[in-house]
Symmetry: C2
Subunit: 255 residues, 2 copies
DNA sequence: CGACACCTTGAAGAGGTTCAAGAAATGTGG
DNA sequence: CCACATTTCTTGAACCTCTTCAAGGTGTCG
């Protein structure tokens, strides 16, 4: 597949439709397998449809929410790509994740009723706004939704365990390999190629996420390319040898 | 305060009582401010009392649960001290947290109905077992409990953001300083000294948590001691200059 | 087309790791 | 209760990975 072709196929936009004609309803959203509990009764589905109050679009570079802002809703990504990052008073910051279509943002805000990180769109995006009091209300009626919310939060906790493992005990090349594999895996789950991807973030943002400097990210990309594992042209990456990358990630023994 | 005195005062055991005589009820547990939602009505409190099915004691070194085990309950620590750790197939492992009285464990298991980390007692411990289906059931009736559960999960997510920041962008001495300050802060919230503490974990476990080798942990302790910030005798640590430690953690500018 | 943001690569340097040895504490069995 | 085995901790020295600093290249957008 050529680089041009990738650029066209991998725009994270589900079946384009004219916005105004869509009733804001999860029941006929084509992302519902990602956002919503499965196997709801007709009746429950109607209740859950009341979850999404409205939509909001966020331009590339803009914040969906920022640290300190009042929390009152979770956000489901319809289209676009985000990063979340925590910032310390002294200006240090750490990217805590990258989010794509079908994923939920804002869980950090529940504890203190204020967001504790920034969510920045890395490309023009659209999100569904789900007021949290409404989520709790409907959760009390629909057990499947309740459990779904719990699972989403638990999944985020487990994901962060994985990042801690990565940050705490992997070398630079292992981290980058794990990062790439995770990205393509999630893209694949959304129907995209499992070998070609376009990075929506800068080297610096990747570095922040992986706990390394942008120069090291760049060097490691080049190293992988030299070894024939991947092909890199700026933000366009093709995975040539996924097996070798996987071996790298699980390479504690041969060391 | 002498080292001897510390050893006596800082055993994480709330008012000792004879186990058999206690009705397993949260309403008269002296940890309820930590585990339970506040301001419940009499009626709701009775319902919530049905949460804890039973108790379980775990000897030092034993696992409360292990990776792969079927998940069916959350655990509230009554006494003792735990670590949680994830292990990769290739034998690498990463301590993801240390838990003390009043904290909740097991949230990782909800997504896949299997635990995704190990919980190991670092000292003899006792936990309350709260079957998760019962939590969900009562949550549907008692809004305050529902919200409390959400807050606990959100708090864990935010905590892990902090660890990612630490692992991703701090130097060894900053990490250890942050770790010590976090520990004393939590101990203080439980009525212990804000300056003297006993580490319940080895240097290796601290290192795993902080993403550094045990030798580096040891060296950094020694460095802090040389600088007069702390006093260290094996696992007994006194904080002499908390302000300096705090400055260390927020020290991006002077660098 | 020019300005700006982003990426790549090199060389020197620092922080942390690895390997090794010895000391201190802890636990066990006689 | 003491002696011995084991685990845990400390410290030194050499080494290595990643960072820092620097310069030049590439791509993008007004």
């Amino acid at each position: 597949m050529t680089i041009k072709a990738i650029m066209h196929t991998q725009h994270l936009t589900p079946t384009p439709q004219i916005k105004d004609t869509i009733k804001v309803a999860c029941s006929n959203c084509n992302l519902r397998e990602l956002c919503m509990p499965m196997g709801l009764s007709q009746d429950d589905m109607l209740k859950v449809d009341g979850l999404v109050a409205s939509r909001r679009s966020v331009k590339r570079g803009q914040a969906l929410f920022q640290t300190g802002e009042k929390f009152n809703a979770l956000f489901a990504i319809r289209t676009g790509f985000f990063k979340t990052a925590v910032t310390t008073p002294d200006g240090r910051d750490q990217v805590t994740g990258f989010q794509m279509a079908g994923e939920i943002m804002g869980l950090d805000g529940i504890v203190n009723e204020r967001h504790s990180c920034d969510a920045i769109a890395l490309e023009d995006a659209e999100v569904c706004i789900m007021p949290f009091d409404r989520i709790e209300e409907i959760s009390r009626e629909v057990g499947a939704l309740q459990h779904h919310v719990h699972k989403i939060m638990s999944r985020e906790i487990v994901r962060e365990h994985g990042v801690m493992l990565l940050l705490g005990s992997m070398r630079a090349d292992e981290r980058l390999a794990a990062f790439l594999l995770n990205l393509v895996q999630r893209l694949q789950a959304r129907g995209f190629s499992s070998s070609a991807l376009i990075l929506r973030m800068t080297r610096e943002e990747i570095g922040s996420y992986l706990g390394m400097k942008l120069e090291t990210v760049s060097r490691t990309f080049s190293k992988f390319a030299d070894e024939g594992l991947i092909e890199v042209h700026q933000r366009q990456v093709s995975i040539l040898n996924a097996e070798a990358l996987k071996r790298l990630v699980n390479a504690q023994a041969c060391h």
